[in-house]
């Protein structure tokens, strides 16, 4: 054992000095560097993004209830080092003289908001400033809409309940404003100390109490665990992930992109490691035979060479981790400014994951070629013609592959994504192998009619058929990834950006009366130039599911309990609305569909609703039952009006309905909004411009982060290229020396090498374009759920990029081969 380790350490030092292991070490360092960069950077970005998402809650965690939260909970939160604040929201009426207006009153105690900042202005047109405090006692901050609706100015007094307060500022931004877009009237914000004086909070009032919490993730998790059993049915926890579905989908998609980058980096580095290890094993065959000859057991040989590689893995892994740390610091610094401040500090764990990945990559990819060394015959010391033993059986590859799959699953924490990446890689490899085989066959025919350099180049490719197929495979794979990361990635990211188009609706109008629909549509059309779609909305309560009465206690999660028992916004339509997609069952035809319903997929999952289920609704004291005939996927991030449950018109027509619409009002046409509000006083206008800007900003930042992270995957692709070139370096060196001995000129040799590499590059580029298109289509369709337009330029760009990259890298790698003194090379054999 000790002797093997000593041998390994000496051999490692010598091989490192001699440059024997540079490609292998580089590939391992890139694997570790890429993964630790991705890990460290995404960890920081995800925490920063979570922080920004937390702004939408104004906290990291929210406890919501219609009852006041017990003081014990706040004490426990403080004890665990968490910040806390309380808010109370209720719908009330503001009174000024004879005029009244329904308002959304919020009282907040000091500390609110825990995440994000309030902004206010001294007057409707005044300069906005970021607030650090709350309204002074006796004063209120109000939404500008209240001033318009009640014809008020800053400094006027308004009555709230039994108290009268002074409007001191215009509230221009609340981080958690978007929480309940469909229920807010103009906001009125008061300090906690003025709440009791209004006399509005009475035991029977409809009041929402919020306990806001913020702090370290571990403390939050601990508090959540402590709180869970104490919640009962009256209280509900809301985290970042429950806030705003459109934000959640942006974060989920970002996670998918970043995970993809990490997975592809690992796989690519693995391919480079496999190739470099193969070469290393081949070069150690003589040494292994000598060791066996001198009496070393097979175990000793395996232990010695495996230890050498593991030591290398640790060194290269640590180097990669350091590089990853530096890399993420660099890009973190670049991105931090764009992300509106400092990123959270890096944590140690993702860096160590890099080291683990280097070792696992080594085990998974370098072990099979290494195992051959144990079976090298000692007779090789006398007979150099004895080749290396065949590669180990399927079991070893299965074990190595299994380790890699486990690693990928652990990295991505997403079985679907991992499955697709693996299936993509497998199918790509098979397709590339078959295509490469056919191409090499075709070359054999071609070589008869060509000039000398061409003949040598083609001859080289055709003669080493298996080696050429393997090289085509490696180059093809590397180019597939390069193309995926350059052309396809841009297409995918553009498609994602396009999901929130510049003209996404920024205004919602709710509570439109049926007799106002026509006039309102005309006014909106005059303002925007587009005919808006106004959807009828009927509020109904779900009373029975498959005949069983709804009981909140039957549902496992607070979210399910809340969704099942609250009033649903039901709507009726003929056609599947834009940004909706049927994922199960069928949409009703225009001919008398009967009492049927279409349910949003996520809601169906939460409430356990399936196709064919019967849902009984109560609307305005009348009940009716519908059968679920389709499930829909809804693009919540489209910012269009969407409904959980849709019914055919004949079921809902006749019930009292209001209408809702959304449309995009350009900034230039904003002035017309005031008139619109005055003309339709009962219509509630919800301005989501700020929210939309927020989500778009998040998408932009995440896109930027992804671009950076993919840069490292690109490096891994380049490592594969170099490993593939290095793999045949010994043989090329030997052959070039033979040809030189026989009188070949250096320029002729270089021309032949150029032909070979350019041809390899063009063919590999063609294969890469084919594979990248297929994978891009699959990813768009199955993973990211985006439309795929297909990179038309791939077919041109692929072969050109292949010729440029493989041609240059190939010549750079073999430049010295053609110039080496033949005797020195031939002597070494």
């Amino acid at each position: 054992m000790n002797a093997a380790l000593r041998f390994a350490w000496r051999a490692l030092l010598r091989d490192l000095r001699a440059g024997e292991l540079h490609v292998l070490a580089l590939a391992l360092a890139i694997a570790a560097g890429a993964v630790s960069t991705v890990g460290l950077f995404t960890d920081r970005v995800e925490r920063a993004l979570a922080g920004q998402a937390a702004e939408v809650l104004a906290a990291d965690l929210l406890v919501e209830s219609s009852r006041e939260t017990p003081a014990e909970w706040r004490n426990e939160a403080t004890r665990r080092g968490l910040e806390s604040a309380r808010t109370v929201s209720l719908r009330s009426v503001a009174v000024v003289g004879e005029r009244t207006q329904l308002v959304e009153l919020k009282a907040a105690d000091s500390g609110y908001p825990l995440r994000g900042r309030l902004r206010s202005a001294p007057a409707p047109d005044g300069d906005e400033r970021v607030e650090t405090g709350l309204p002074e006692p006796g004063s209120v901050w109000v939404d500008v809409r209240l001033l318009h609706l009640m014809d008020l100015e800053v400094g006027d007094r308004i009555g709230l309940g039994v108290s009268e307060l002074t409007i001191s500022r215009v509230l221009t931004f609340e981080p958690d404003r978007g929480m309940n877009v469909f229920s807010i009237g103009p906001r009125v914000l008061i300090g906690w100390q003025d709440l009791a004086g209004t006399g509005l909070v009475l035991p029977a009032s409809r009041v929402h109490h919020h306990l806001l919490l913020a702090g370290e993730p571990t403390s939050l998790a601990g508090f959540t665990r402590w709180l869970q059993p104490r919640l009962g049915v009256d209280y509900e926890i809301e985290g970042i992930e429950q806030a705003r579905p459109e934000l959640r989908s942006a974060l989920e998609r970002a996670g998918a992109f970043l995970n993809l980058a990490a997975l592809v980096s690992v796989l690519l580095a693995g391919v480079a490691v496999a190739m470099a290890a193969q070469r290393h094993a081949a070069r150690q065959a003589d040494g292994s035979a000598v060791l066996r000859c001198l009496g070393a057991t097979r175990r000793f040989v395996l232990l010695a060479y495996a230890s050498e590689l593991m030591l290398l893995g640790v060194l290269a892994g640590l180097l990669g981790c350091v590089a990853g740390y530096a890399g993420q610091a660099l890009i973190g610094g670049l991105v931090a400014g764009l992300m509106g401040g400092q990123l959270p500090p890096p944590s140690l764990a993702p860096a160590l994951v890099g080291l683990g990945v280097a070792l696992a990559t080594l085990l998974g990819f370098a072990l099979p070629p290494l195992l051959r060394l144990g079976r090298v015959s000692p007779l090789r010391v006398l007979r150099r013609d004895l080749g290396l033993p065949p590669l180990p059986g399927v079991a070893v590859y299965m074990a190595g592959g299994g380790a890699m799959v486990a690693l990928m699953l652990w990295l991505s924490r997403d079985a679907v994504l991992t499955g697709w990446v693996l299936a993509g890689v497998l199918v790509t490899l098979l397709a590339l192998t078959a295509a490469a085989g056919l191409l090499v066959l075709a070359l054999r025919r071609l070589r008869r009619r060509s000039g000398l350099a061409w003949r040598f180049g083609l001859l080289n490719l055709a003669r080493r058929a298996r080696g050429s197929v393997a090289q085509l495979l490696a180059f093809g794979l590397a180019l597939t990834v390069l193309l995926l990361l350059t052309v396809v990635r841009v297409d995918l990211l553009d498609a994602w950006r396009a999901k929130i188009p510049p003209g996404a609706p920024n205004l919602f109008l709710v509570n439109v009366q049926p007799d106002e629909v026509g006039a309102l549509a005309t006014r909106i059309e005059a303002l925007t130039g587009d005919t808006p779609a106004l959807y009828p909305m009927v509020r109904g309560r779900l009373v029975a599911h498959n005949g069983a009465p709804i009981d909140a206690n039957d549902y496992p999660t607070p979210r399910a309990r809340r969704l099942a028992t609250r009033e649903f916004n039901l709507s009726y339509v003929d056609q599947v609305p834009e940004s909706n997609r049927i994922v199960a069952g069928t949409w009703w035809s225009e001919q008398a569909p009967g009492a049927v319903a279409s349910v949003e997929q996520g809601l169906a999952e939460t409430l356990g609703i399936g196709l064919g289920d019967r849902l009984r609704y109560r609307v305005a004291e009348r009940e009716f039952e519908v059968t679920v005939t389709s499930l829909r996927e809804v693009a919540w991030d489209s910012f269009r009006v969407n409904f959980f449950v849709l019914l055919p018109p004949e079921v809902l027509e006749g019930f009292p309905a209001t209408h809702i619409t959304s449309f995009h009002l350009p900034a230039a046409a904003r002035a017309g909004l005031g008139d619109l509000v005055r003309s339709f006083p009962s219509v509630t206008v919800i301005d989501v411009d700020a929210l939309l800007g927020h989500v778009r900003r998040i998408v932009d930042r995440v896109t930027l982060a992804i671009e950076f992270v993919f840069g490292f995957t690109l490096l891994a692709g380049v490592a594969v290229l170099f490993a593939a070139i290095h793999a045949t370096l010994d043989q090329r060196r030997y052959e070039a020396s033979l040809l030189r001995t026989l009188g070949a000129r250096r320029s002729g040799l270089l021309r032949a090498l150029a032909v070979e590499f350019l041809l390899l590059g063009a063919l590999a580029g063609l294969l890469g374009a084919l594979a990248a298109s297929g994978i891009g289509w699959l990813l768009a369709r199955e993973v990211f759920d985006l439309p795929w337009q297909g990179g038309g330029l791939l077919w041109l760009f692929g072969p050109l990029a292949g010729m440029a990259v493989v041609g240059l890298a190939g010549l750079a790698g073999t430049w010295r081969v053609a110039g080496q003194p033949p005797l020195a090379v031939l002597r070494r054999g």
């Binding site: 000496r10 097979r298 000793f300």
Partner: protein
């Protein structure tokens, strides 16, 4: 199993056939051979006579198609590959035409290797001692590519003799060296052989070198001819 005591090496009716594109190729055909402990034997013959094949079989690097081989009293057919390697460790030394030094170890480390494989605790000291004996005390830290051919073969001799083997197999030890260097290496080989009392099996084309052995075995087309 029977043992051939007092005989360092014994081969009985040893044949070796390998598959070739044109059919089975007979490399050795019924070779009988005995080498007493401390004896030196030269194996000579033209290229392709089967000299190296015989050396490989005698050293347990390969197994015969027919016949039996005993090495230091052990029937090689009863041992598996690791068993044969264990038998060689510390007991059998090798010198090859192409030196076969491990390129990633220094001269000293190359000499230490068989000592360490045999479990020696003082491999370093012993290596220094033997390197000094072959005149390379100052070159211990050099890597093989930093040494001349003659120096490399002297390191190989030091490596072969360091564990004090009972048997030494030498395959064309001067074949890659010029005449003068070859003569020096040949002298060193026989001097060391005498000092250590090692049994020597020497495969060579060099008749002068063969003549320095106590006995010569001539092979032609896989058969013993004299």
């Amino acid at each position: 199993m029977r043992t051939a005591e007092a005989k360092a090496i014994e081969a009985r009716k040893v044949s070796k056939r390998v598959a070739a594109p044109e059919g089975m190729l007979q490399l050795l055909d019924g070779v009988d051979l005995q080498v007493a402990a401390g004896e030196s034997l030269a194996v000579v013959g033209p290229s392709g006579a089967g000299k190296s094949t015989l050396l490989g079989l005698l050293a347990g690097l390969d197994l015969p198609s027919e016949g039996q081989v005993w090495l230091d009293g052990h029937d090689l057919a009863t041992l598996d590959e690791d068993g044969r390697a264990g038998l060689r460790a510390g007991r059998v030394g090798f010198v090859f035409q192409s030196f076969q030094l491990l390129s990633n170890l220094t001269a000293r480390e190359n000499v230490m290797l068989p000592l360490e494989l045999a479990g020696s605790d003082a491999a370093g000291d012993r290596a220094d001692e033997v390197l000094a004996r072959v005149g390379l005390a100052q070159r211990g830290a050099h890597y093989p590519h930093q040494l001349s051919g003659g120096e490399q073969q002297r390191v190989a001799l030091a490596r072969a003799f360091a564990p004090g083997p009972r048997i030494l197999f030498a395959d064309e030890p001067t074949g890659n060296l010029d005449q003068r260097t070859g003569a020096t290496v040949g002298d060193l080989l026989f001097d060391l052989n005498r000092e250590f009392g090692t049994t020597l099996v020497l495969v060579t084309h060099d008749h002068a070198l063969a003549a320095r052995c106590a006995r010569t075995l001539a092979l032609d087309e896989g058969r013993v001819v004299e």
